[in-house]
């Protein structure tokens, strides 16, 4: 089966019933995408498929084949961080950061679709994500500032 991840093509030989998350983490060793629940409830496993934020833990790998997959490892442009990554660093929008890839991927997808979201739109785009460390105040500020609302914090 063919997978296009972060602009690179991979030929993988895996059982059709495996999840995209399992293949990314185990076959392609892209461990920046995290397992948090495996049930679509926490957002830790979020990747972009054709630009759409998608829970990779409940996505069969077959349905991602032939599409454009972006993981946290592929979000930056070489050494240049994506504006959302940049903002997460600037606002220290994490503690343990286990949830961070997921939040960043969903935020990047949101800004792509809606470059000037208001607070309610940001919250609703991220409401499927859990940060157990409770870094939400920062996350909100970071996404606002990535959206160019000046210094939100």
């Amino acid at each position: 089966m063919h997978l296009k991840v972060n602009d690179e093509s991979h030929e993988v030989h895996v059982d059709a019933e495996r999840t995209l998350l399992s293949v990314l983490r185990h076959e392609l060793e892209l461990t920046g995408t995290k397992y948090g629940c495996g049930e679509g409830n926490c957002g830790a496993c979020t990747v972009l498929i054709d630009g759409e934020a998608t829970r990779s833990c409940i996505t069969p790998v077959t349905s991602a084949s032939g599409r454009d997959i972006t993981t946290i490892e592929g979000l930056a442009d070489g050494d240049k961080l994506h504006p959302v990554q940049e903002a997460f660093v600037e606002h220290t929008a994490f503690q343990c950061a286990y949830c961070t890839s997921g939040f960043i991927m969903s935020s990047a997808a949101l800004l792509d679709r809606n470059p000037k979201p208001d607070e309610e739109q940001i919250k609703s785009a991220l409401s499927g994500h859990i940060c157990r460390c409770g870094a939400y105040v920062r996350i909100l500020k970071a996404v606002k500032s990535a959206a160019g609302e000046g210094d939100a914090g």
Binding site: T31, Y35, I72, L75, Q95, C96, T100, C131
Partner: protein, 679 residues
């Protein structure tokens, strides 16, 4: 992660006990001398601590302290944490307070190194060391016009110096780094996915293990049939040792299938404990009470009281529910065991592994990976399980829990029942205070944190008992601190309301503790307590707390509507002495508030006869971004007061402040958590 030897080209080594307190403190012994800081011939600085990073930013805090004392850049300090082969032994003292004793000792080690470098320069330049100072990794002289780099001073040397008793540290005014906002040194690895957590560790030849779980706590295995599982391609071995059954496979998903293919019959325990009868059970099954403090005479206190109140409170088990489920990799090299895991106490983990396999602790090396936000627990069992499987198959094995295992088989914050009897005089002064707590868990010590009252009272008894725990009780952010505060601060409102006194005024009337008063008045002013607006469905609540050497007061606003309560605003007064990293401290406090909000409003582990009933996020509600209130933090500590913890104290009063606010909104007293299901 690699076995790289940091000591290889060490030119200067600073040794000393890992902890330091201004006065000898029997509760926090300094520990055995060990290497605290090294500078290599090329000038690279490394610092070593048995503490681990679990998201509290400890790596950054230590790096900032060392950078300031040694006049080097923060990101040039390599902080090595939690690798038992490299760092000083930390005898498992946990909590923010002991972190401070480590941080200050690292500062002292850095200052010692700086002095050594100045002395080397003085000898080399044949000048008086008093004429020298340091700047950006160099010793400077000649009025600052000339300089010599640390690396050049050290070349050709191999020195070992001990941290002396007297060390002169920099003054607050000279800090360039501490006290100023800074990005975490590990930030980029966190936003690009390159930070490696225990779940991500892969070593050559590694296999994947999965454990067969009983249906409930205390169940025993009666019958098992593994034939079907054995036939699955990719299964390496089915390991059975009594009730311990595990599968080792070439891939994780194969191990999962294989576990499901095992047929097993269990006999479940007949324990009738459940989250329904636990409040009463905790008292019935309690061991002996330990009196933490007993002063004056309760009897005469109650006799002189104008009013006597009695209440019972209850907090349920709470799941840590950390985002990273527990994971551990174990590798045996002959009789030597190496374990990569996410445990806050790597030395305790090392010792428990050594004990389990009957080997010398020196043969066990525990390496703490980045820890995915565990304020309290990562199940220690996961390392035991990985090591058992690795031994059985003679290959490295990783065991990673899934979410249901994490909910079902990690330790939980102890449930607790409290009985408080108080007496107040006509002036609204507390004259008698009888406090009894019954915390689940064999360890009474856990429940003692925060049990004592900070309010003024002459006749007082504080007693804590450990009660048999139907579930495996373990640590959590601030342990019993948060639960004890919940009971006490709820009762404070109980008295205030019954006397018709404003809750802020009532607390101030009974509180002479200066630092707590400082937090309380600052929070009240920032919140606008006096001018708060009474509206239908809106309530306001106050609570104060102390933990890990720090003090805090919190005021919240809630909105209650349609059986839901929403926290809309929180103002925090916080005194942790000198604030080393204000942004980091704020981040921790905000996190504590959000986490505590979950315990107040929704969270409780539901169980029946040892079976966990809500083992997924769909059935165990935790705070989300849509629940997050506006949070304002006011620091009230003095710069001349030594720093104390900011990671945990923030959580202690928040549940009580929220409960008091909900009571203010609805008029109904709250005695049990969580609040929302009871609205």
């Amino acid at each position: 992660m690699s076995g790289q030897d940091f000591q290889s080209e060490v030119a200067l080594k600073v040794v000393g006990p890992p902890r330091w307190t201004p006065e000898p403190d029997p509760r926090v012994p300094p520990g055995d001398p060990a290497t605290l800081l090294t500078i290599n011939g090329d000038g690279a600085v490394s610092a070593f601590s048995g503490k681990v990073e679990y998201g509290q930013g400890i790596r950054n805090g230590f790096a900032m302290e060392i950078a300031d004392e040694l006049d080097i850049a923060v990101d040039s300090v390599r902080v090595v944490l939690g690798d038992t082969a490299l760092v000083p032994q930390d005898r498992g003292t946990t909590g923010s307070a002991s972190t401070r004793t480590v941080g200050i000792q690292l500062r002292r080690a850095a200052a010692t190194a700086r002095q050594t470098l100045i002395d080397l320069a003085a000898t080399r330049l044949e000048v008086d060391s008093g004429a020298l100072s340091t700047r950006e990794g160099s010793v400077v002289f000649g009025g600052g016009s000339k300089s010599v780099r640390y690396a050049d001073l050290l070349s050709g040397h191999t020195l070992t110096v001990a941290v002396p008793d007297e060390v002169t540290l920099k003054n607050v005014g000279d800090f360039r780094v501490m006290g100023k906002p800074s990005s975490r040194i590990d930030a980029v690895s966190r936003v690009t996915g390159s930070a490696k957590y225990a779940q991500d560790v892969v070593i050559p030849g590694m296999l994947y293990g999965k454990i067969l779980r009983p249906p409930s706590y205390g169940a025993t295995l009666r019958q098992i049939d593994t034939a079907r599982a054995e036939r699955i391609g990719g299964v390496v071995s089915i390991v059975q040792d009594g009730d311990f059954v595990g599968v080792v496979a070439e891939r994780e998903d194969v191990a999962e299938y294989a576990i499901e293919a095992i047929r097993a019959r269990w006999e479940e325990s007949r324990d009738t404990a459940s989250d329904w009868n636990l409040p009463a059970l905790l008292k019935e099954r309690a061991g002996e009470s330990v009196a933490l403090r007993e002063e004056g005479s309760l009897q005469s206190g109650f006799a002189s009281a104008d009013r006597v109140l009695e209440s019972t409170y209850y907090v349920p088990y709470i799941s840590n529910a950390q985002m990273e489920p527990s994971a551990s990799v174990a590798r045996w090299d002959g009789d030597d065991l190496t374990v990569w895991c996410a445990n806050r106490g790597p030395f305790a983990e090392r010792d428990s592994l050594a004990e389990m396999f009957g080997i010398d602790p020196k043969r066990v090396r525990v390496i703490a990976a980045e820890i995915g936000g565990s304020f309290g627990t990562k199940s220690p069992s996961v390392s035991h399980e990985a090591a058992r499987l690795a031994k059985a198959v003679d290959a490295p094995v990783r065991v990673s829990y899934d979410r249901a295992e994490e909910f079902g088989w990690s330790t939980v914050r102890p449930a607790a029942t409290f009985e408080i009897k108080s007496g107040v005089d006509v002036d609204g002064k507390i004259v008698s205070w009888d406090y009894a707590a019954f915390h689940a868990g064999e360890n009474a010590f856990r429940g003692q944190r925060g049990a004592d009252t900070p309010y003024d009272v002459d006749n007082v008894r504080i007693s804590v008992a450990a009660s048999e725990s139907p579930l495996q009780a373990g640590s959590y952010r601030s342990l019993g601190g948060a639960t004890n505060h919940f009971a006490r601060e709820l009762h404070m409102d109980e008295i205030a309301i019954s006397m018709g006194i404003d809750p802020l005024e009532f607390r101030l009337r009974n509180l002479s503790h200066e630092r707590l008063r400082g937090c309380l008045t600052a929070a009240a002013e920032a919140f606008g307590w006096e001018s708060r607006e009474k509206r239908p469905g809106v309530g306001y609540g106050i609570a104060i707390g102390y933990d890990a050497g720090s003090f805090t007061a919190q005021i919240v606003e809630v909105a209650v509507e349609n059986q839901e309560a929403r926290v809309t605003r929180v103002t925090v007064g916080f005194d942790c002495g000198l604030v080393v990293n204000p942004d980091g401290a704020r981040n921790q406090i905000e996190g504590s508030i959000v986490m505590g909000m979950g315990t107040a409003l929704w969270e409780a582990v539901e169980f029946d006869g040892g079976r966990i009933l809500n083992d997924g996020f769909a059935r165990y509600r935790v705070p989300r971004i849509t629940d997050t209130p506006e949070i304002e933090v006011v620091f009230t500590g003095g710069d001349d007061v030594p720093s104390s913890g900011a990671g945990e104290p923030g959580i202690v009063p928040i549940a009580a402040a929220i409960a008091n606010a909900v009571r203010d909104a609805t008029g109904t007293a709250i005695e049990e958590l969580p609040i929302v299901p009871r609205l």
